[in-house]
């Protein structure tokens, strides 16, 4: 039995499981479609939220990002988990008490205005779209690896599957499928790490291996020391040293944290539990389940880096391990023999994808067309040739995408086939669960907040669900398009922008809506608009219009600008609210009431 067959078996089994669950818990009413009827247990909801939370970016790219950038990647580790603390103590208990199904619903009622609701809908759609693009890309990467097809074809297959069960099952179906998906993810993520930790450090627990000693071939050195030495030898900076300035690191982490706390698709999860007490309990479980994976990621990243360099650097191409061929053929690794010695050389200080120490000219590898002559496609060592010109200004010969680290890891460590099959199933679970959750929020935003509450108030339940299904189809088509033509090279980066947008729009508005009775509709609307407009323009300018590094505001990169956008939002909201009339008395009473944790009632009685 070969690897492909094993992969198919594992993925097939996991899919069968998800589909059985989705069909069995199919939504019958709008209430079940949006909030699963409000009766999911805290533990189950915790698992489902964790699955929703851990996107393909987390699962596939994060360990790779850690491997490449060492300390700098801590911004993702702290940002995404720390944001969850904010979300739990500042947002969800109050929003759950308020008891409506969606975030725009709260904003619309709290700021007593259709315009505020409309602005919130637009922000929600924008955030979810940015986020879901990254997910579709992730699905594409996995499927391309799996079937040996191109990434675009992989994206299309993934889109079809997501549509099938997200559109069909609604929130109830999704919640129970996500519970299963979490189990698959957690198991498949930690298992390879345990094997590798044993091989490299003699420690069963990967987290202890990371802070333990490297013990291969009788040599005993502190593991991080070993990694620093390897990096230094090849001209990279030390693994434990950071590249980003402290202010930039601070801003990016803060933007990720606050963005997390404003993510509509995660907030919605907490409307599915019974009462405020259950919300808090559910949040504990969620973070615990998330931590299982987040604490493993840095270990996997560090192990993968040592493995990668030891297996490939200064190895003759003809002797390179077989997985190298596979990644070459799907275009995720590339090698150009610049010095003609037939060996693979990997050098820093760049990260292989950016300007410095790049292998070839251009952002990503291009290949000769299929009808080109064989001599243009295959080099003298048997390697796959690129259409890009080689960049001869530096000696680095190896290119690879961050996204492959997690998937390449078990190959590199020579783990058994079934571990790799399981990992594939986990990757797909991660991407599908998040994409499905996002799709639901997107479709709800359109059918419930836009159609029912703004455009056509006399919509029946059945029509509303149909609109939701139609909207998910359109949203998915757009997401698939951007998954095929991603606006940014890496999954984690695309997703980071979504957090910036959430931080600059929802977080301040929700926070002030909950904790202040004085903030009114004029303040909220102008705040949201100025925050998100500022953030989008900054990102677009530096990401797509070729803004120069010198022009950056205080040296803050587009990833971290959401934090500044958020401050602007706070400021504008406070000033405009102070200058206009306070909100009506019934709204002030409502703010009082959401602080009383009792009597939250059933979810979504709209």
């Amino acid at each position: 039995m070969n690897q492909d067959t094993v992969n198919f078996i594992f993925i097939g089994l996991s899919f069968a499981l998800y589909i059985v669950i989705a069909v069995r818990s199919r939504a019958g009413s709008t209430q079940e479609y949006y909030t699963a009827g409000g009766g999911v247990s805290p533990l189950a909801n915790g698992m489902a939220t964790a699955a929703d939370w851990m996107s393909a970016a987390t699962f596939i790219s994060m360990a790779g990002t850690v491997a490449i950038s060492g300390y700098d990647a801590s911004r993702f580790l702290m940002g995404w988990t720390g944001g969850f603390v904010l979300l739990t103590v500042l947002m969800v208990p109050y929003l759950r008490k308020f008891g409506k199904a969606t975030v725009p619903d709260f904003i619309g009622d709290r700021f007593y205005s259709k315009l505020a609701r409309a602005v919130a809908v637009v922000c929600a759609i924008f955030i979810c779209m940015t986020y879901i693009m990254g997910q579709m890309r992730g699905v594409g990467v996995v499927f391309s690896q799996l079937f040996g097809i191109s990434v675009p074809a992989g994206v299309l297959i993934g889109a079809a599957i997501v549509f099938f069960y997200a559109g069909l099952g609604g929130m109830k179906g999704i919640t129970y499928t996500q519970v299963a998906q979490y189990c698959v993810m957690a198991f498949s993520y930690t298992l390879p790490a345990i094997f590798i930790a044993m091989a490299m450090t003699g420690n069963v627990i990967p987290q202890l291996g990371l802070i333990g000693n490297y013990t291969v071939d009788g040599e005993v050195v502190p593991f991080l020391q070993k990694l620093n030495n390897i990096n230094a030898e090849l001209g990279f900076q030390e693994y434990t040293a950071g590249n980003l300035s402290t202010i930039n690191m601070f801003c990016i982490t803060a933007a990720l944290m606050c963005g997390t706390a404003g993510l509509p698709h995660v907030i919605v999860r907490f409307f599915t539990v019974k009462n405020v007490h259950a919300v808090r309990k559910s949040a504990c479980w969620t973070l615990l389940f998330i931590a299982v994976i987040y604490l493993t990621a840095p270990a996997i990243g560090a192990f993968a880096r040592v493995n990668l360099i030891q297996k490939l650097h200064n190895t003759a191409y003809s002797e390179a391990p077989s997985w190298f061929d596979e990644f070459e053929s799907t275009g995720q690794m590339a090698w150009i023999d610049k010095n003609g010695d037939g060996k693979i050389q990997y050098y820093g200080p760049g990260k292989s994808e950016v300007g410095k120490s790049s292998v070839f000219l251009g952002a990503k590898p291009e290949y000769p067309s299929d009808d080109a002559e064989a001599s243009q496609k295959v080099g003298i060592n048997g390697e796959r040739l690129l259409a890009n010109k080689s960049d001869d200004s530096n000696p680095n010969e190896l290119w690879f995408g961050n996204d492959i680290m997690v998937m390449a890891n078990p190959h590199m460590a020579g783990l058994p086939m079934w571990v790799i099959g399981l990992l594939m199933a986990g990757c797909i679970a991660a991407a599908l669960s998040t994409a499905a959750g996002l799709l639901l929020v997107l479709s709800t935003s359109i059918s419930h907040d836009l159609m029912k509450k703004i455009v056509k108030p006399d919509l029946t339940d059945r029509e509303e669900v149909n609109y939701a299904r139609g909207a998910s189809f359109v949203a998915l088509a757009v997401a698939a398009y951007f998954g095929i033509n991603p606006p940014s090279a890496f999954i984690a980066k695309t997703v980071a922008f979504a957090f910036g947008l959430a931080a600059s729009s929802f977080f301040p508005t929700l926070l002030m809506g909950i904790f202040s009775k004085r903030v009114n509709k004029a303040g909220a609307i102008s705040g949201m608009l100025s925050g998100i407009t500022f953030t989008i323009s900054y990102i677009v300018y530096f990401q797509f219009l070729g803004g120069k590094t010198e022009q950056l505001l205080f040296g803050i990169t587009p990833e971290g600008i959401g934090f500044v956008g958020m401050l602007i939002n706070f400021l504008v909201t406070a000033i405009v609210s102070a200058m206009t009339a306070p909100p009506p008395i019934e709204v002030q009473e409502m703010v009082e009431s959401i602080h009383i944790p009792k009597g939250s009632g059933d979810a979504s009685d709209h």
């Binding site: 702290m78 603390v85 808090r280």
Partner: protein, 91 residues
């Protein structure tokens, strides 16, 4: 439902805010403080965790552990507070 029916919305809200703010202070010190702002100093002066420098370890592992603990503490303290003010809905 609790037998205590004396509700004090204002007192409850103040106590709740106090819990939230003190937890957020810990949250800030563990992540931004140890992991980013004072990281270099801590790497050099604080005791190592295993073989890892303290600041680096806080940024990659320690802060996450602190976050999980914080949420359990939050859930516990808030339930106790709700009970005290007669808002408990534990079933």
């Amino acid at each position: 439902m609790s037998t205590l029916e004396v509700n004090h919305p204002r007192a409850h809200r103040r106590a709740c805010l106090k819990i939230v703010l003190s937890l957020l202070a810990v949250w800030f010190v563990a992540s931004f403080g140890c992991g980013i702002l004072f990281r270099d100093w801590l790497d050099a002066h604080a005791p190592q965790i295993g073989t890892a420098p303290f600041g680096f370890w806080m940024a990659q592992q320690g802060s996450i552990l602190v976050f999980v603990l914080l949420l359990f503490v939050y859930s516990y303290l808030m339930s106790r507070l709700d009970r005290k003010h007669g808002y408990s809905e534990r079933l």
